[in-house]
């Protein structure tokens, strides 16, 4: 399997371990293994068919501040989506690293909404639960979602607590000092912020069916 799990076979520098004899892997992709409609589906959900006009120039990868950490550059993810490599695209570490800075979107010579594509892939992966347990990014997103869904406002202190409880509880202690500094300066509180008319919000959020990326296999 390609995807972020392969990083465990790498040493600290990210290069393949030199001491190990590499296993021979047979790699072939049969057309029948692909989800050939995947490209069009994602293109539609990510606002427009422009995704299909990608010329693989790599501007998105080069302008991306996080591509150095990605297993597949954004350009390759787009190629995978287009060609129906659904598993690879959804398993990719790339979609989680996207910080929504929109550099790719404004520089893409084909005006592809690449950030929206990444959002769409994230939702699809969350809907299919295609991410490892205790993986902080989707957990943070879920925590944020729950807090805001319930109260209408975020509370940064509570959110961090939520994150550390569900990923690595030890990190709380690493960050205690930072938290205390913020508390002392009045820049963080453990109090939950709320809006007054929570019932309005509940009606709004319950009104339409959730954006569901239906699993199709």
């Amino acid at each position: 399997m390609i995807g972020f799990l392969s990083t465990k076979h790498r040493n600290k520098n990210g290069s393949p371990s030199s001491g190990r004899i590499k296993k021979v892997v047979r790699r072939v992709k049969y057309e029948s293994e692909l989800d050939l409609g995947f490209g069009e589906t994602i293109a539609e959900r990510a606002y427009g068919q422009k995704l299909l006009s990608c010329i693989q120039c790599g501007t998105c990868s080069a302008t991306c501040p996080l591509s150095y950490y990605m297993d597949f550059t954004p350009r390759r993810v787009i190629a995978m989506v287009r060609e129906g490599f659904r598993e690879e695209a959804l398993n990719s570490f790339t979609i989680w690293l996207c910080a929504s800075c929109y550099s790719c979107t404004v520089q893409c010579p084909r005006q592809i909404h690449i950030t929206d594509v990444m959002y769409t892939l994230k939702r699809e992966a969350i809907a299919r639960e295609m991410f490892p347990r205790r993986y902080p990014i989707p957990i943070l997103a879920r925590g944020f979602f729950d807090i805001v869904h319930r109260n209408g406002r975020n509370s940064e202190g509570r959110l961090l607590l939520y994150l550390y409880l569900r990923t690595n509880i030890l990190k709380i202690f690493q960050n205690t000092r930072l938290g205390l500094h913020l508390l002392r300066r009045g820049r963080m509180s453990v109090r939950q912020e709320k809006i007054h008319r929570k019932e309005d919000l509940r009606s709004i959020l319950g009104a339409v069916s959730p954006t569901r990326e239906e699993p199709r296999s």
């Binding site: 606002y47 950490y69 404004v106 939702r123 913020l182």
Partner: protein, 299 residues
């Protein structure tokens, strides 16, 4: 000048100094800000990662409240936080451009007895300052020229991309222009819109901290005395992780990171207490006060 004000969640916690200094500076410029009644979280980037339909509805509730609040002329929301600015602008834009978004939002709001017709303008303080107030009006209020102060303007990403039309998406200059009207010198650095990583500093530390290390090192390399920014998350990342960055990457960085409105306030002679200067981790006053013609110590 009168605007609706949407502070957003961050400006009520980590970004409090931004909220305080912005209100003080706008008041000094004679701009009236009315906080939006019972506003809710914009949803930021995370909400849309889970459910996009709900995310639009969440953001649109604010737009609907704004539209109902103003009867004379099109309502304008000032949104200082980059994430809020982006999400509200995106919701407004997609509401205009995509039928299914408009229909979904309309139905969601109707469930709470709200309506939205798409008339709200979402604007950033930089836009207001440059285009509505104008640099001469800002310069006129300056009591303490920031002569000799080398400032790196850091815009971050979501203020200028992808929807802002008030400045260049990759090489903006509006904050630099404001800084120059305070008498400061601006450094020309290529990372002014490079992402700080957002919440990655809390999730994938190596990636998040490295981005901020690069930003800090480059700002220093270009001779900056301090960095001004217009985004609460950028400010937080650049300032609050300096210790960790120094430890992890063997750096010795101590660079004040403040909100551009704070520096404006100091230049205007507004007492530092009203600008939340003491809430910062790295006190910028020594570097500002040390400069000839800078802010006197008693401010």
């Amino acid at each position: 000048m009168k605007y609706l004000y949407y502070p957003g969640c961050s400006l009520k916690s980590t970004g409090r100094p931004y909220d305080e200094s912005l209100r003080a500076v706008f008041a000094a410029l004679g701009i009236e800000l009315t906080e939006l009644d019972d506003w809710n979280c914009c949803g930021a980037t995370a909400y849309a990662s889970i459910d996009e339909n709900q995310a639009f509805g969440l953001a649109a509730r604010n737009l609907a409240i704004a539209e109902a609040a103003v009867t004379d002329g099109p309502p304008t929301i000032v949104a200082p936080c980059s994430a809020c600015f982006l999400v509200l602008t995106k919701t407004q834009r997609y509401f205009e451009d995509y039928d299914h978004v408009r229909d979904g939002v309309t139905r969601e709001l109707a469930a709470a007895g709200l309506t939205y017709r798409g008339h709200v303008k979402v604007r950033h303080p930089l836009d207001i300052l440059i285009h509505d107030v104008g640099l001469p009006a800002i310069a006129k209020l300056v009591q303490h020229q920031m002569k000799g102060l080398h400032v790196a303007s850091y815009y971050g990403c979501q203020v200028v991309r992808p929807f802002a039309t008030f400045d260049d998406p990759l090489y903006p200059t509006s904050m630099d222009a404001i800084m120059r009207s305070l008498g400061a010198e601006t450094v020309d650095w290529p990372l002014k819109t490079r992402c700080c990583g957002g919440s990655l500093s809390g999730t994938i530390k190596e990636a998040g901290l490295r981005l901020n290390q690069h930003l800090l090192v480059e700002a220093l390399r270009k001779g900056s005395d301090l960095v001004v920014t217009c985004c609460p998350l950028c400010q937080f990342n650049l300032e609050c992780f300096q210790k960790q960055i120094n430890k992890n990457y063997d750096e010795r960085i101590s660079l004040p990171i403040m909100y551009f409105t704070q520096l404006m306030g100091l230049a205007f002679g507004i007492p530092e207490k009203e600008l939340g200067i003491r809430r910062l981790f790295i006190d910028p006053l020594p570097v500002i006060g040390a400069l000839k013609g800078g802010v006197p110590a008693h401010v």
